[in-house]
């Protein structure tokens, strides 16, 4: 199966190892992965800040970049959600709405793609550790991907899984919110970190680079002995 990777700008620049894990994982599952080189950013930072015009240009650009792809897979629930928002944003635009719909229909978040399209529930990973999972808001509520990451994690050999208390509450990232409203964000992320600690997990797993950067950054700042790991890395572990 041919898959185009939408790696997202955060992972491209700051967590390139997550991108590599995603490629290796998909190849391990028999996919042929390509990386359309023109890709930039989904437009979410500008769109969510109210800069509609600015964001629409990057959206159009991304639509063009992935025009010929059969499937678009991304290791980020939030950026995947953004592709799924394009049809609403371009609603009524005779030229771009159909293209936006086409892109949305072929775009999948990584775990969603593995479970729903590849129909794989056990990727053959193993990682002896105690883990908990952060359900990121956009992926869960807007993209509606709730079960896929858990299904895959539960089949990772050696991984002992504990549910995160109050997992429905946002970690306080929210893109520019994290810097614009940093005083509020701090209390939100602290509560999240407290909950992670209470599970006694060694690893916090997540499927969104933004949330992980926020929670991970706070964990690192406060010196807690918890490792933060993207789900692609967990699923690509063969220890």
């Amino acid at each position: 199966m041919k898959v185009s990777l939408f790696v997202t700008c955060l992972i491209d620049m700051f967590q390139s190892d997550v991108g590599r894990d995603t490629v290796e994982l998909l190849e391990h599952l028999g996919c042929e992965v390509d990386f359309p080189e023109g890709q930039t950013c989904c437009g979410q930072p500008a769109y969510n800040s109210g800069y509609l015009k600015e964001s629409m240009e990057s959206m159009k650009h991304m639509i063009n970049v992935f025009q010929d792809s059969e499937y678009v897979v991304t290791p980020s629930g939030s950026c995947g959600t953004m592709f799924h928002e394009y049809p609403n944003i371009f609603a009524g635009d005779a030229e771009w709405e159909p293209k936006a719909i086409e892109l949305a229909n072929k775009t999948y978040e990584l775990t969603q793609f593995i479970v729903e399209v590849l129909k794989v529930e056990d990727v053959g990973a193993s990682l002896p550790a105690r883990a908990t999972y952060h359900t990121s808001c956009h992926m869960t509520r807007l993209l509606g991907v709730k079960e896929a990451p858990l299904t895959l994690l539960k089949n990772v050999k050696g991984l002992e899984f504990t549910e995160l208390p109050d997992k429905h509450n946002c970690c306080g990232f929210g893109g520019t919110f994290s810097v614009k409203m940093s005083q509020i964000s701090e209390h939100m992320v602290d509560e999240k970190v407290r909950h992670v600690e209470s599970t006694k997990a060694d690893i916090l797993v997540g499927a969104d680079a933004g949330c992980l950067m926020n929670i991970g950054g706070r964990i690192s700042r406060t010196g807690k002995p918890i490792e933060v790991m993207h789900i692609a890395t967990v699923l690509n572990s063969r220890k």
Binding site: F14, G50, M213
Partner: protein, 476 residues
Amino acid sequence: MGMKIGTAAFKERVDQGLSDSFMRGAVSAAQGRLRDGRLNAAEELGNWEDWRSHGEEIRKHTLEHLDYYLEMLVDNVSKRGGHVFFAQTAEEANEYITNVVKKKGAKKIVKSKSMVTEEISMNEALEKIGCDVVESDLGEWILQVDDHDPPSHIVAPALHKNKEQIRDVFRDKLGYKNSEKPEELALFAREQLREEFLAAEVGITGCNFAIADSGTVTLVTNEGNARMATTLPKTQITVMGMERIVPSWEEMEVLVSLLTRAAVGQKLTSYITALTGPKGEGDVDGPEEFHLVVVDNGRSKILGTEFQEALHCIRCAACINVCPVYRHVGGHSYGSIYPGPIGAVLSPLLGGYDDYKELPYASTLCAACTEACPVKIPLHELLIKHRQKIVEKEGKAPVFESLSMKAFRMGTASPTMYNIGSKLAPKMMKPFVKEDKIANGPGPLKNWTSIRDFPAPSNERFRDWFKNREKEESKS
């Protein structure tokens, strides 16, 4: 009180909220309870999502034909002998209400809970003409006794207080001698309030749903206070926001089912009070005179705009009960009697961006509100629309932000620019990197690194790794 509460700037209000550990304890405990309640009640109903869609359709249809249904309501209230007044502004509403009260020579007024009367500062207007206005909803009454502490939640106005604090208010202000047990507190309030009901000459209520085809106003309470306020006083005034209307009893039933479940996880409240005009011949109770005041106060300006859905709100507070920002800052931080997500959408619409421009940004756009809303108002999308308005029409966005967004467009709409930028960024960040992280970032990163570390850029961008790998592969 008006819609605006307090004069402190947004940041000060938030700081105050964040440092109030009593309030935060009370709020997070209540959020947990209310959220669980709602989910259980929704599950028990079965096809909750179908109910939500149905609720959404009803609100949409009604608002799209608002003039038609309002006319029908006016006709039917008039036919039953009631008086109807359309108030375009808060002042007009208050003038009408105070005139009715003056004509009756009334001094003692008893109220049941109503957000719209808070919005128009009706109590103050009545107090100015020498009336004693008594709140009869337990939460509202507690706040009134506590020197008019503003409400922090639209359904549970005293949510920010715990039972010990309520006991202290009663002790200090009213000489209460018993404990903080809720039963004892409630009994005390009941005794005090009963006297007020019996003495009141005018009863004033809000309105949950006005039923157009019968001319009925309905009120949903758990304490029965609306029933007392609509039956004991001789004159009854109902004040409603102009959108608080349904075509018939049939739609009302659907919305009440959604409201009570979404608000507090109840299948039904203890009381649903319905009042159709003044007391008829042969009726044993009910008011002799009935006035319905329909308040616009900025609502018709929202009609026909991209914010129309904000008027679909049935004031259940489910969005507030799940909001992770409200959880930490509490209701008073919003500076409006309408807090939480719906408050962040509605307050700027009714009160303007000058006072409320920060509210649309006081959200992570996590969409917990949108998911919880029983009539499917896309709250987080409306917050983004506010941000768009602020950026495009109002020009109120910070200069730095608009510059960086221009840079964003250049950097993301063209792969060449993205390439240059993403190659350059690591070099620029390098001086700040220590032990694989940035703990003290420059410029816009500063607010980030004041709380948390920022990752150092990867040594090799993903795209370079991928390209090199392809090259290697083609070689071999």
